[in-house]
């Protein structure tokens, strides 16, 4: 190999300038290992360039002040990225975890509260129904009371008859609106297959007129029944009849009977 021609080509100057390809760099390197003249040439080119470039620098900065600028450690300049714990990051993560936990807790809480709210809502509705019922009851009772207290009302006590002496009932008759209110508290529940039937009677001659059966007697709470009565009644009677009622009263089953005292 012509070492001189190789040197004269100017490739070594480009090598120092860093303008060769990776492959060319590798080739030059291999030759430098082989030919000390080439290495010497490169060292001189480099030395000249180092001097030239240094001459451009307006001032030097010594290593100690450079090191000082790193400012972290005397022994290890490598510690440019201090291994200081990244508190912002840690705090961020901690906050995220707390937040996530808090959200879960809140969600759980919310579900519990929703369940409770639903239960309370149901209870509330139930209570509302009860109140409504009570109001209805109260209104009904008031109506009843008002009806019974009406000045036009006629009270007719019905006494127990024969075997049924212990039973009783009371009729409040409002002739103005042709209604009787039967208070049948003193009658027992009608047995299976039987029903209470209310009769309006005229006495001379004795003529019974059915005012109807009380089908809901056993289930009624206050045992007061409003019954239409347009008859000129002189007495009221209550008999126990087979379900569906009878055309004429079964006298053996006459429980209570009461006479209207005076016809207003």
């Amino acid at each position: 190999m012509d070492i001189k021609a190789y040197i004269e080509s100017g490739i070594l100057e480009l090598y120092v300038a860093g303008q060769l390809t990776e492959k060319e760099n590798q080739e030059v390197y291999d030759l430098l290992q082989k030919y000390p003249e080439l290495l010497q040439e490169v060292l001189e080119i480099e030395a000249a360039v180092v001097k030239l470039t240094a001459a451009v620098s307006p001032h030097a900065i010594d290593f100690d002040s450079f090191k000082g600028k790193l400012g972290h450690t005397d022994t290890k300049v490598v510690d440019l990225k201090p291994k200081k714990p990244n508190w912002i990051s840690y705090t961020g993560w901690a906050a995220s975890i707390l937040l996530a936990g808090g959200l879960l807790w809140t969600l759980n809480n919310k579900n519990e509260i929703e369940d409770q709210l639903q239960t309370v809502e149901i209870e509330k509705q139930y209570l509302e129904i009860q109140i409504e019922d009570a109001r209805t009851d109260l209104a009904a009772t008031k109506t009843l009371l008002d009806a019974i207290r009406d000045k036009d009302i006629l009270a007719v006590p019905l006494g127990g008859q024969g075997d049924y002496a212990s039973t009783y009932a009371k009729v409040y008759w409002n002739k103005a609106d042709n209604t009787i209110y039967l208070d049948a508290e003193g009658l027992p529940d009608a047995p299976e297959g039987k029903v209470w039937q209310v009769w309006s009677l005229t006495l001379n001659p004795l003529t019974p007129t059915s005012l109807g059966t009380i089908d809901d007697f056993n289930t009624d709470n206050n045992k007061i029944f409003a019954i239409a009565n347009a008859n000129e009644s002189q007495a009221f009677g209550i008999t126990l009849e087979p379900a569906g009622g009878s055309a004429s009263p079964t006298m053996e089953q006459l429980y209570t009977l009461g006479v209207v005292e005076s016809t207003p």
Binding site: G18, L20, V50, L52, V56, V78
Partner: protein
């Protein structure tokens, strides 16, 4: 293995004494190269130190098979400085960059008077032909490739190579 090779290996093993020696050998050159690009002493001071910090941090990526250690760090310096000149902040602060070549800077550098190399360097740059100034500026200071330099200077690639050889030869004659 040369002394320099040993130093570089120690440097790669994070030996700070070796790092200091390499710094002492090349920091002024790196500073010069960076300063020639950014034309601002404060920025150049900062960038030069950045260059050595980078070199220290990625010391393991250097291999002598890829080139000279000086060439490696010179490359880092040019890239760092050129990156800086592309930054928005730099562009805003340096709208009227003077286009001085390294030779103009050397000529106006007062501190060279005390340096032992001063006389040779000054003589060199004073006597240096325009083509030499341009070639050295582009290839060593600016990091132009041979091809880029040939386009910039409008001369054949081969001419760039030989002219550069001659220019550096002149430099060696005066400073070594």
């Amino acid at each position: 293995m040369t002394d320099l090779d040993t130093l570089v290996v120690q440097f790669q093993n994070k030996n700070q004494v070796a790092f200091k020696k390499l710094y002492d050998m090349y920091s002024k050159s790196i500073h010069g190269v960076v300063y020639n690009i950014v034309k601002d002493t404060d920025i150049a001071d900062e960038l030069m130190q950045d260059v050595f910090i980078k070199a220290w941090n990625k010391a393991d990526t250097y291999s002598s098979k890829k080139g000279r250690f000086f060439t490696w760090i010179l490359n880092i310096a040019r890239n760092t400085a050129i990156d800086k000149t592309r930054s928005k902040a730099y562009k805003q602060s340096k709208q009227n960059l003077n286009s001085d070549y390294f030779v103009d800077i050397i000529t106006s550098n007062d501190n060279l008077d005390t340096s032992t190399d001063a006389i040779g360097i000054k003589k060199f740059v004073t006597n240096l032909g325009k083509k030499c100034k341009e070639v050295i500026e582009l290839l060593y200071f600016k990091g132009f490739t041979q091809k880029e330099a040939s386009e910039e200077l409008q001369m054949p690639i081969g001419t760039v190579k030989t002219r550069n050889r001659n220019c550096i030869q002149q430099l060696r004659d005066m400073v070594l």
